[in-house]
Each structure stands twice: as structure tokens, then as C-alpha cells.
């Protein structure tokens, strides 16, 4: 009796030790990042103003704003989305609605995993070799965006496929039994019920695309441009590359300015991700069947 309660006590103590141990590890993983983010806000916050967001860089980028970089990122993201969303959604529809479970489908899945896993600098090499040189697009928004599109294609495919597969099979069969074609079923029943899920994927992709640097360095983004891009065949500045440039390439840079750039970039990325997560939670709360 006594022995067993002693054993229980020891178990309970050990239990507590492990809980504290793993809790501490979690804290040690999360806290530094939070401290870093707070530092970014504290140091970068004062830099951010309307003039900073909507002004041009001046004095060899050591002063002024980031507007050309901000606008360039918008260009790059939009063109990349135009290429990757239709392609990614099509691929996801194929995989979820048409593909049989065979070696070919497995090959596609393997390709998707590797598109996501290949280092971004290798994507950059491909973008340079293929789009800039081989297809003769030159260093341009188009070449950079296509490189980004291929790199982030897996994000759209995976999110869309998940959303499609969340629609119960019985709905599809009910439609097919009525004589609806596969496409009519997808178009009338599957996609309308998966569209919010697709949207979460697209928002995630925006966030990924906006933050990427290596793939655009040699394909379309420039360190500094005195003019704004007029078409997709022009080069552009980009926020992510701008952060790299102002923090490593420019002598005499005031300490605060790069923090401001970093804060804007991480702000965009985290807001987009939070939006995507919020949408996903809203979706989970809303029962349609």
C-alpha cells in the first residue's frame, strides 16, 4: 500500500518533469522568434511612414522610401499567380478527380514533392537558363514570375487537392448517377464546395512568392532602378531583394532603414498567412453537410 503510493508519487513527479521539460523546449523554440519579431517592430516601426511606403529611394538608397520595391513585389506576385493558379488548380483537379492510383500518379506526386524541395537557388538557375536565356525573355518580370510560379506550384496543388478531397465522394456519385459528366460534377458540386480551400492555398502562395529572393535575383529583379516597370518585359525592384541589398550591398546605410524594410516584408507575409489560417478556421466551423 505504502510502496504503491510512493510509486505513484514518483510517477507523478516524473510526469511533471517531462511536461516542464517539453514545455520549456517549446518556449525556447517560440520565444527567441518572438523576441526577434519584437526587435524588428521596435527598430523598424519608427521608420515606417506614408513617405516610406510610397516614396522613392533617395541618396543611393540610404534614405527615402520603398515604393518601387513594393510595387515590384505586387507585379511579381500577380504575374506568378496568373501562371501558377490555373496550372496548379488543373493539376489538383487531375490528381483528385481523374487520376488512377498507378505509377504515373505516383510519379506526378514525386515531382510535386521535389518541386517544393529543390533549393530555391536551383530554381533560379533554371529560370536563368530557361526563361532568360533559352526562351529569350531577358531579365524581366515575366521571367522572374514564371520562375516563382514553378517554385510555388506545389503550394497551390497541395492546398487545392486537399480542398477537393474534403468533398465527400457520395456527392460525386450522386451527380454521376444523374448523368452529369465528370466536368459538370466538378464544376457544379465539387469546386463550389472547395473554392474557399483553394483560396487559402492561393493566399499562402502569395505569402511564399512575396518572400522569395534567390529565384528572382538573376531572372528579373534589379538592385536599383530609376524608373517603375511599364510592362512584364521590364525589370523591377522587389521588396525581398531590396532587403538583401540595403542590408548587405550599400555602404553608409543608416541602421534603422533595413529594419523598416524587413518589417514591411514580414508584415505582408504574416498577414497573408494569418488570413489563410483564419479562412481555414472559419471553413472548419461552417458545416455544409
Amino acid at each position: 500500500m505504502f510502496a504503491s503510493s510512493e510509486l505513484n508519487q514518483r510517477n507523478r513527479n516524473r510526469e511533471r518533469v517531462f511536461r516542464v521539460l517539453f514545455g520549456t523546449m517549446t518556449a525556447l523554440l517560440v520565444l527567441p522568434v518572438i523576441i526577434i519579431l519584437v526587435t524588428l517592430v521596435v527598430k523598424g516601426g519608427p521608420v515606417i511612414s506614408v513617405e516610406f511606403l510610397f516614396g522613392n529611394p533617395t541618396n543611393g538608397m540610404t534614405a527615402g522610401g520603398i515604393f518601387p520595391a513594393l510595387l515590384g513585389t505586387v507585379w511579381l506576385v500577380l504575374v506568378a499567380l496568373l501562371a501558377s493558379v490555373p496550372l496548379g488548380v488543373a493539376a489538383a483537379i487531375y490528381l483528385s478527380e481523374y487520376a488512377a492510383d498507378n505509377w504515373f500518379t505516383r510519379a506526378i506526386n514525386l515531382a510535386i514533392i521535389n518541386l517544393a524541395g529543390v533549393p530555391s537557388i536551383v530554381h533560379a538557375l533554371f529560370g536563368l537558363g530557361a526563361f532568360v536565356v533559352f526562351f529569350g525573355l531577358g531579365t524581366s518580370i515575366l521571367a522572374a514570375s514564371l520562375t516563382l510560379a514553378i517554385m510555388t506550384l506545389p503550394v497551390v496543388i497541395v492546398a487545392t487537392r486537399e480542398a477537393l478531397q474534403a468533398v465527400p465522394q457520395s456527392f460525386r456519385e450522386a451527380c454521376w448517377n444523374m448523368g452529369a459528366t465528370r466536368w459538370q460534377t466538378i464544376h457544379r458540386v465539387v469546386l463550389p464546395n472547395a473554392i474557399t480551400g483553394v483560396l487559402t492555398g492561393v493566399i499562402l502562395e502569395v505569402s511564399r512568392t512575396a518572400g522569395e529572393t534567390a529565384p528572382i535575383m538573376f531572372t528579373g529583379a534589379a538592385f536599383f532602378l530609376p524608373f517603375l516597370p511599364q510592362s512584364v518585359f521590364d525589370q523591377t525592384m522587389a521588396l525581398s531583394l531590396h532587403l538583401f541589398v540595403v542590408s548587405t550591398q550599400v555602404p553608409g546605410m543608416p541602421e534603422q532603414l533595413p529594419f523598416g524594410v524587413a518589417l514591411v516584408l514580414i508584415g505582408i507575409v504574416l498577414i497573408m498567412n494569418s488570413l489563410s489560417i483564419a479562412l481555414r478556421m472559419y471553413l472548419r466551423g461552417k458545416k455544409k453537410w
Partner: protein
């Protein structure tokens, strides 16, 4: 049955109007072809990437390439006036040291966090922690590089009293913090995939919570955890901007964590802009790309096979 063949024939003919391909049928077939093209695009792109970077590096591999020099020479001096040398040994050492340190940081912390989230908390706390981890995974690598440069660098100089804070230690910690959230997510999925009946069975036998985790859950999830680690390694190996900015970018086979190094990926990022298209130097950088591609491909393939292995069981 009073069969009337003549009548039956006419009936049949007039009633078989469903047996022709209408517009809807052709639209369906067209869509099927379109989405199939979308599906194979992933294969086309991955093959395209491999073919293009191999093709661009081909001249180097065929003409200037010395396998021994490339892999075993520690000297990377592509712009030397006397003799260009293309040895990636020091770059591999740079990448390996940084990735190794990063894993030393990331593996215990991400597995610990995954265990904490999956087994020790639930409800709202769990949800918040998962969202936090997901957001951490989203921080762009150039921001991490900037953090290494502007926050970690002075910190390391102060704390360890060394002249330069851009080194293996800096990049390793940065890369570790970067890889940990993704590893945590995958590891947590693997732990959650262990069926509850395993836990219940062990608890019914009187095992304590920790015993259940240690003796039942961890062994059952070990493949998924291994997959998480491998993906972390792949990510660290292929990371570019953060290591470019935080390693100090000097060619070195490191002897301590305070040595500056240079990574394979960072070399391409730093030098590609200065090379003439088609020059040996340009081609050598593409050859490094092929090397990176092949290694990450193998890592991802292995991780996928391992993770899929557990799903089948």
C-alpha cells in the same frame, strides 16, 4: 412473349438517341485533357529543371571538369588570373557544418515541441501553438538572413568576444530556427497519426503518460519523425539567402563554430550575377546546381518513402 420483330426494331432505332456524343461529352473530354496537362506539368517542370541545369553545366562537365578537383579540392577560385580552380570541398564543408549545427539545434527542439503539442496540451492551447508554429514557418529566408546579420551578429560578438559574428554558429542557429517549425509540424502529424487505441491499450495496462509516449507513441511514429528530420536536413541543405547573409561568406574548411564559411547555394547566389553566360565559371555554378539538385532529390525521395511507409501500415 409476343415478339414483334419489326416493331421492336423501329422502337429501338427511335429510342437510341442517347447513344451519341454530344457537346457535353466533348467538353468533358476536353477538360480531362486540359487538367491532365496540368497534372503532367509538374513532371515536365522537374525534368525541365534537371535537363536545363545539366545542359548549361554540360560544357564544364565535358571540357574543364576534373572529377577529383571538383569534389576534393578545397580551393574554389574561379576568377584566378593564373589558373581557375573549381573545388567545392570547402563549400560542401561550409554547407555541412551549418546544416549539421542547425540540425543539432532543430532536432531536439522540434521533436520536443512536437511531443509537447501532440501529447501534453489540447484544446485552445494546442490550436494556438500550432498556428504559431505555422506562422514561424512562413518567415522568408531573406528576413532570417537579415536577422543573422543585424541581430545575431552583434550578439555573438558581444557574448563570445570574437571579432566576427557571421560564422557557422550564427548561420547554424538561424537555419535551425528556420527549419524547426516545419520539422515540428511534420513530427506532430506523425505523432497524431498513431492510433488512439495504442495509447488506450497501454494505459489500460497501467502505463503512465510518459511511459505511453516513450514506449508506445514514439516507436510507432519513428518513421514519420525520421521523415521530419530528413526534410529538415533537405531544407537546411538547400537554403540560400539566410546562409548567404549569415555565414560570413568566406571559403573555409571550418575548425570551430566561430569560423566563417561559405555554402554551396550561397556561392551560386553570390557569383552567378558576375559571370558571363556560357563561360566556364557560369557552367561550374550550374554544375553545383546539378549537385544540389541530385542530393536534395535523393533526400526528398527518401523522406517521402519513409513517411509514406507509415501511412500504409
Amino acid at each position: 412473349m409476343p415478339a414483334n420483330p419489326a416493331r421492336q426494331t423501329t422502337e429501338v432505332l427511335s429510342n437510341t438517341d442517347f447513344d451519341h456524343r454530344d457537346l457535353d461529352w466533348y467538353i468533358d473530354r476536353g477538360v480531362q485533357i486540359l487538367v491532365f496537362l496540368g497534372g503532367i506539368s509538374a513532371i515536365v517542370f522537374i525534368l525541365g529543371i534537371f535537363i536545363f541545369i545539366t545542359k548549361e553545366g554540360l560544357g564544364f562537365i565535358l571540357e574543364d571538369f576534373s572529377f577529383r578537383e571538383f569534389l576534393f579540392s578545397p580551393t574554389w577560385r574561379p576568377t584566378s588570373e593564373l589558373k581557375e580552380t573549381y573545388g567545392i570541398l570547402a563549400l560542401v564543408a561550409g554547407t555541412a557544418s551549418v546544416t549539421g549545427l542547425a540540425m543539432l539545434v532543430a532536432i531536439p527542439f522540434s521533436l520536443g515541441t512536437a511531443i509537447f503539442i501532440a501529447e501534453f496540451v489540447d484544446g485552445k492551447t494546442r490550436e494556438y501553438l500550432k498556428v504559431t508554429v505555422e506562422l514561424l514557418a512562413a518567415i522568408p529566408s531573406v528576413v532570417w538572413g537579415f536577422i543573422g546579420l543585424s541581430i545575431m551578429n552583434p550578439l555573438i560578438i558581444d557574448v563570445f568576444d570574437v571579432p566576427v559574428g557571421l560564422n557557422v554558429l550564427n548561420a547554424g542557429i538561424i537555419l535551425g530556427l528556420m527549419a524547426a517549425p516545419i520539422m515540428t509540424s511534420i513530427a506532430e502529424d506523425a505523432l497524431k497519426a498513431v492510433p488512439d487505441r495504442y495509447r488506450e491499450a497501454a494505459e489500460a495496462m497501467g502505463a503512465t503518460h510518459w511511459q505511453v509516449i516513450y514506449k508506445v507513441v514514439l516507436p510507432a511514429a519513428k518513421n514519420g519523425l525520421l521523415g521530419a528530420v530528413l526534410l529538415g536536413v533537405g531544407r537546411g541543405f538547400g537554403e540560400t539567402m539566410a546562409v548567404l547573409m549569415a555565414t560570413g561568406h568566406s571559403i573555409n574548411i571550418p575548425t570551430s563554430v566561430f569560423d566563417s564559411v561559405r555554402a554551396l547555394t550561397a556561392t551560386i547566389a553570390a557569383e552567378l550575377g558576375e559571370t558571363a553566360v556560357g563561360s566556364p565559371h557560369y557552367q561550374a555554378l550550374f554544375t553545383i546546381g546539378v549537385f544540389l539538385f541530385v542530393i536534395t532529390f535523393c533526400i526528398n525521395l527518401t523522406a517521402d518513402l519513409i513517411v509514406r511507409g507509415i501511412r500504409k501500415e
